[in-house]
């Protein structure tokens, strides 16, 4: 029930921010549609730890997002340099990297790998992720495990 209340508040906040027109009719429609969506979510039984991951630490998640943005920036510059370089200095490779994480954290990890230019997660198993990388350095960087440790930290 707590999850239903949180989902309702988040949806209502989104409605208020996006609509920008605060008349009784539109506010009423907003409340009605948010309640309708929560009712559908309850009926479909998707309001679990996966649908609304409230067990992740919010402050740490924001900190992780900032760190990830910086990593994305650095690897974008690296890939950009490789693309414009006349000799095209790439060394593509495919390897498994370990990912012994919960479901939500595994998705965050796989998505972070894909979001970072130069590495793409191809296949996600229960305890490892198959990664294609544009360079050998990209795979070595993932195997060094800093991103993995930070994602694992989100769940604790």
């Amino acid at each position: 029930m707590l999850r239903a209340a949180v989902l309702f508040m988040v949806l209502l906040l989104l409605w208020l921010l996006l609509s920008g027109i605060y008349e009784p009719l539109l506010l009423g429609l907003g409340i009605a549609s948010c309640a309708f969506v929560v009712w559908i979510a309850l009926r479909k039984d998707v309001l679990d730890a996966e649908g609304l991951p409230m067990h992740l630490h919010l402050g740490r998640s924001l900190h992780y997002a900032a760190w990830l943005a910086w990593q994305v920036f650095l690897s974008t510059l690296d890939v950009t340099w490789r693309i414009w370089h006349p000799a095209l200095p790439i060394s593509p490779g495919v390897r498994h990297v370990p990912a012994e994480l919960g479901d939500v954290a595994r998705v965050i990890y796989a998505n972070s790998i894909t979001l970072t230019p130069g590495t793409v997660s191809i296949d996600v198993d229960a305890d490892r992720i198959l990664v294609h990388s544009l360079t050998e350095e990209g795979l070595a960087g993932l195997e060094a495990g800093e991103m993995y440790r930070r994602v694992k930290h989100l769940e604790e």
Partner: protein, 107 residues
């Protein structure tokens, strides 16, 4: 102050455009499907972020800015999912990735 904001906005828009063009060049230059997938993630991440930030500076503290911010967040969530779906389906379609090539690639 307005000149400064406009200048910052232009820099972000031009920089973002450069990264979008880089994605296109990468798509042409890189040798196979999987490596080309890496080129497309540049416009998806830094390109889109810089262009949307530049537009947000033009819009100022207003509701359109907030909507632009939400567009950016949704792109950052859905982009990798689409890339992953492409990579996974091509691997399951038995497309073999090209491995360990450095200098001998045709330009």
């Amino acid at each position: 102050m307005e000149t400064f904001i406009n200048g910052a906005s232009w820099c972000l828009l031009l920089g973002g455009s450069f990264f979008v063009v880089t994605g296109g060049v990468g798509l042409l230059r890189l040798p196979d499907f999987f490596t080309r997938l890496h080129a497309t993630s540049i416009p998806d991440t830094l390109g889109a972020t810089m262009i949307i930030s530049g537009l947000m500076l033009q819009a100022g503290w207003s509701q359109p800015s907030l909507k632009l911010l939400l567009i950016m967040v949704f792109m950052l969530f859905t982009g990798p999912t689409a890339s992953h779906a492409l990579a996974k389906s091509s691997l399951h379609g038995h497309l073999k990735p090209l491995l360990r090539v450095t200098k001998e690639i045709e330009p």
